[in-house]
Symmetry: C2
Subunit: 516 residues, 2 copies
């Protein structure tokens, strides 16, 4: 095939440099879905899950291990017996009605604000890794500098919509004060949306204070600016830490992800449908509680899904049941008209090998088909979340860009013009030089930069580099090119003042790594 028309001028070192100079780091808007949803349940089956979940809430109840929540529930009219809260289905339905179906998720740069909910989706990087695989592919504990690097990458990768929070755990800072530095790093190194720490109620309150400095308290009380995640302890338990953090967020009307934590078969029944029924009950109980705390506060139907290996007890990802459960949960969330969160790119591979690729891509396709709104853990996840891979981070982000393109659907605007090209070219011709091709090629077909599609001879001439190494080189390039999205000087100083004050108030933990 001749590539004269399209290929020649872009080859070689000079061309690569040219590409680098004009790299487009502009964030893609929140994805607006243009393909149908994959909905494996009938309306009757949705009712079946709904009914089973509400039956669990009524008969079995949910444990809220938190005196304030128990008091709140009593006042709200629930049947509280000890720590177990039995929720009448009418009460649950009434409460969740006031959860907004959509809202704007605000960034410090308004150009990066995100419409959230309904047919919109956003990609958020992985968080919480106690290790990273670094630029030398070495697995080690991360530092604040490493975290900053991930925030910088998040800022520069177009399909990533958030800098999240503790993508990796910064081990060089005392754990009791870490949340302050993590939050600052998210705010400072990126002007996209971010997440807030929920590791304790007090930490969550610090996040709220820092957000009030960044956005203004008044603005914040009326506009979502930060999301927090609260995990449940499946089966059917919510604990004091998470509930306290939830209250901190809800008091500022900031969106909380209510996320049952499923190890399918270990803390749920052995089956897809009953697991979703339990998870749905758990999610509903927390979603309802957000409205007990403050009516109208945004909340997100969450979950963390894995299935458990009967051979080893290990959590598994990329399995068919996780795909099915994502599709089902999407249906349930839409049934309640509540936006929902899922996890992307999960997997258990220890290195960035083919296992990691299969696991990540299977999950991404399933969650895109399922119509998830908040697609968390979209970049970097490996080893069941134990490490964040720098290489995988940029490849996953490109996969998000590809998934984004797919989920946008089919473009029809130049259809007639393109059909004219078929007539112009005719049988046996080629399209490379046709004006329609030259005009439309780049927008017509995605060209992944992290995939090598050259001949093996060319690949060998380029040094026989596998994707892990190619991606690490991309990370180095990006970090070299990074430009600070300037934070207002007064705001920056106020944030640093706040951190300094709080670090004086909060005793540093004895050991740096006490929690992990």
């Amino acid at each position: 095939m001749s590539v004269d028309a399209v290929g020649k001028t872009r080859r070689g070192r000079g061309a690569r440099k040219a590409v680098r100079q004009k790299r487009d780091i502009k964030m893609l808007p929140a994805l607006k879905r243009g393909i149908p949803l994959m909905e494996p349940m009938s309306a009757e089956q949705i009712e079946k899950i709904d009914n089973a979940s509400l039956g669990i809430l009524e008969d079995v109840g949910v444990v809220f291990r938190d005196p304030i929540a128990l008091e709140d529930w009593k006042k709200a009219g629930a049947d509280v017996r000890g720590e177990t809260v039995h929720l009448d289905r009418g009460l649950v339905r009434d409460l969740i009605k006031t959860i907004p179906a959509s809202f704007t998720y605000n960034a410090r740069n308004p150009a990066n604000n995100l419409p959230f909910g309904n047919d919109h989706s956003i990609f958020v990087p992985m968080t919480g890794a106690p290790y990273l695989r670094d630029l030398e592919d070495k697995r080690r504990n991360p530092t604040l500098d490493d975290l900053a690097n991930f925030h910088k990458l998040s800022h520069m990768l177009p399909a990533i919509h958030s800098s999240a929070h503790h993508i990796v755990e910064p081990y060089d800072h005392p754990i009791s004060q870490r949340h302050l530095r993590i939050t600052y790093s998210s705010m400072k190194h990126s002007d996209k949306t971010f997440m807030g720490m929920t590791t304790s109620p007090k930490n969550a309150e610090d996040v709220m204070e820092m957000c009030a400095i960044l956005f203004g308290k008044e603005f914040m009380l009326n506009n979502p600016v930060v999301t927090g995640n609260c995990n449940g302890n499946s089966p059917l338990v919510w604990d004091e830490t998470m509930l306290g953090a939830m209250r901190a967020f809800a008091k500022y009307k900031q969106p909380v992800l209510c996320s049952p934590f499923v190890l399918g078969g270990a803390n749920t029944p052995a089956g897809v449908a009953p697991t979703v029924a339990q998870l749905n009950a758990e999610a509903l109980s927390a979603l309802a509680y957000t409205q007990v705390i403050q009516k109208g506060t945004p909340a997100i139907y969450g979950h963390y899904l894995s299935t458990v290996s009967m051979k080893s007890g290990a959590p598994m990802a990329g399995t068919p049941e996780i795909s099915l459960m994502n599709m089902m949960i999407g249906q349930m969330a839409r049934h309640y008209n509540i936006p929902w969160r899922t996890s992307n790119t999960l997997g258990g591979a220890k290195t960035f090998d083919a296992q990691a690729g299969y696991e990540s891509a299977s999950t991404m396709m399933a969650v895109l088909m399922s119509g998830a709104n908040y697609i968390w853990h979209s970049a970097g996840w490996n080893e069941a979340g134990m490490h964040c891979s720098m290489a995988k981070f940029v490849v996953d982000a490109e996969q998000c860009a590809m998934g984004y393109r797919m989920a946008q659907g089919i473009k029809w605007d130049d259809f007639d013009e393109a059909l004219q090209a078929v007539r112009d070219v005719g049988p046996g011709g080629h399209y490379l030089g046709h004006p329609h091709t030259l005009e439309n090629f780049q927008k017509a077909f995605f060209m992944p930069e992290m995939f090598d599609n050259n001949s093996i001879e060319q690949w060998q001439a380029d040094g026989s580099v596998e994707i892990n190494e190619r991606a690490l080189q991309r990370v180095r390039d990006l970090l070299n090119e990074y430009e600070d999205p300037k934070l207002d000087v007064a705001v920056d100083e106020a944030l640093l003042d706040y951190i300094a004050r709080r670090e004086r108030e909060i005793p540093a933990a004895d050991a740096l790594n006490q929690d992990l």
Copy 2:
């Protein structure tokens, strides 16, 4: 988490041996779809493609570079000008009406017969690789022994429904006679369905003769026993080799895959919708021709899809547009009520690295959602089809088993029983010891054997083995355990006699590797 209840007895070397002894190689029946289809086009958009394609067939026409086909078309009432056949939409619609919507695809072991078409899908391995990556992960030209090994693996992998044909090209046998040995190897080493060579009309006739020996000519004339692929030369050309092979198959009423060969942007317009319009025109022209040859002969709507990199001219796989086009082609094939073929696990990675994993899994998810009936290239494909990887072959096959499970959909049969487990276990409990769990665990959640989900400590203790090496070990184990699915002695002799006679008649090519 305690794994006592489910994990302990299966660990260690003894456990692995136990697993090996009882490995289940029984073929899964043809997948019967239990999830909805992903259909991104409205009825109106389907009409738009249909209308555009029929317009192309009428106005631009299709070149049939084959005197017999041109004569056939004249007799059938087409407007033939030189080599260009202009097809009236009424004629096309009339002709394709007689293509069976479904049939039984017969294997020599009737237990492995496959219902084909409608909501059934089958997984067929990759074919046509001029290289393999062998048991030592060395890239080299394959031999007949290598081909036999792939046929043996196909026989043993439960989700693989066919031994196909030249999975790899056997370079140690003269090209002019190779099709005989390839066909024999497919028939001999597996008792599943297989494919027939279409590398020339005469070769296709040899395949028909050999099938007549294996199945009996009478049976064969009334029952599909072998599938052949005919590629188009896009845009809008069918050549003599393919058309002659098509006639050889159609005369025996054996199903032919009519496969336009798309290098999106190079031999089609730069766009998803117009590419599908052209591809649809090409497929329809060949599908219609199968019915000119013999009314009622089974035919399969085929395609090979790649998009072309503007940077290098290289074909790309796993891209969003290929996923979208698969979904659209599925809709078109169903519009015409004709079963359809797609390609799975395509990719351009040079090794079995993460790129290969991403590409394969993205494509597999898309084609499963699209409802393809004949899912070709489902195992082993790498390097744009230039090599078949032994390691990837078994991992892909496990992915097919996982995709199979997902596409079967949700099981509801034990839903009430499982809900009772939620009541039994209650908040804060665990399910590992519950009778419902013990009874349902293995069927409830797929446990991939090629994925390592252990802790890093366990993985290191096991030798820090990445998936490529683990898979190669699995290949060795499978080949060690292989048992010959006995071929009737008289049939075997008759086949060998036929081959011997034909090898005397066909001159061996001067050089072994003249074609590649």
